[in-house]
Symmetry: C2
Subunit: 220 residues, 2 copies
């Protein structure tokens, strides 16, 4: 039987491009994050809080992936960091080629930390590595505690987990133990930060950890 | 220049299958809903509340689309309605072929209303019609008010909008006016219900409207 391995070819072409992106980032001394989440988990608010808490300690740049609009890019642009908008025109995830095309628009030699905000989606972005150093998943309390079980590919491929909107715990049914057991099965020992971008809880701990990673490298 | 219209061919093959599904549903007198939402917007809770509120007034069946797991299907199965689980095995949306394969597993002649729960995703399900009569989008307050602007394809293709978790309005920043203006641009006059599955607010109004549509037909 003849088989046409379209998906496999797409993914291996993407992996080659991701490797090229990584090389270019490393050559410029840029540490990069791929921020992924469901729509509305608070990616942009969390990135805003991160950039504010970093202050002058790291030079940050930002790439925003969205299907349409520049709403998120404008929010980050207001913080005064270099911003590149990628509009995927319907595509449900970023891929390494898109990031590769964005890099020349950034002053990489003056950047320590590149934050890439992926399209809001718990499924497709997990399949496409970008060449970044860490995959960061932002979960949020109102999404419900069953998400690790229902979106295992995403939870399996992640390096850091942010549990956002922790201030809403009193108002929604969310079994934190059930959530954490699901995460532990898929990503044993996963580094996790519980935060609220509304109250600021947990942001300093995350930023201290991030600065350590950026400064001393050692991506896994 | 040679162009390979892969996506267009996939969508027209899907449309032909959707038309076949619709014919089979209509022949059995089944009215069908395609429930779409971001992960964690509360699709399964809303479907549970709907089935409970319908009581004996309509005979309901349920098809659950998920990447993996049977968590949602088990929740609905506990209500005593016929349930079929579709596991897409990684695919980020249902398509008409999957629903076509599910229909023979259901006693369609004893069903008035078929509720299909799509994979949690605000992007890809919007592209694949299933042959159902109404596309229902469930938004939720914690997602934020900018979602119509950021996921316009989904908001454009929808017949009914449910704004869920309305009980969380006091606890999260959500500009309802901004949200509604975005919806109005994309889907003028869209039928909208504001509900809370926690408090029960709005469920009766939705169910009364739904019963009217199922009983008197008139899908647009």
């Amino acid at each position: 039987m003849a088989r046409i391995p379209v998906v496999q070819n797409i993914l291996s072409a993407n992996a080659a491009l991701a490797s090229d992106v990584r090389g270019r980032l490393d050559a410029s001394g840029v540490f990069a994050l791929n921020m992924m989440a469901s729509p509305g988990a608070g990616k942009t608010s969390f990135i805003t809080a991160t950039i504010r808490a970093l202050g002058d300690s790291l030079r940050v740049a930002y790439v925003d992936g969205d299907i349409e609009t520049t709403i998120d890019a404008e929010r980050i642009d207001a913080l005064g960091v270099p911003v590149v908008q990628i509009n995927t025109g319907g595509a449900c995830h970023l891929d390494a080629n898109m990031l590769s095309l964005a890099l020349p628009q950034l002053p990489l030699d003056q950047v320590d930390l590149l934050i890439v905000e992926n399209v809001g989606n718990l499924v497709c972005p997990a399949e496409f590595e970008l060449g970044t150093h860490l995959n960061v998943l932002i979960a949020s309390i109102p999404e419900g505690a069953d998400k690790p079980y229902k979106y295992p590919t995403m939870y399996r491929g992640v390096d850091v987990l942010i549990v956002n909107k922790i201030d809403l715990l009193p108002y929604v049914p969310f079994d934190l133990g059930y959530f954490k057991r699901g995460v532990e099965v898929l990503s044993p020992g996963l580094t996790t930060f519980e935060v609220s971008c509304t109250t600021g809880d947990g942001i300093q701990a995350w930023v201290a950890w991030l600065k350590e990673r950026v400064t001393h490298g050692s991506p896994r």
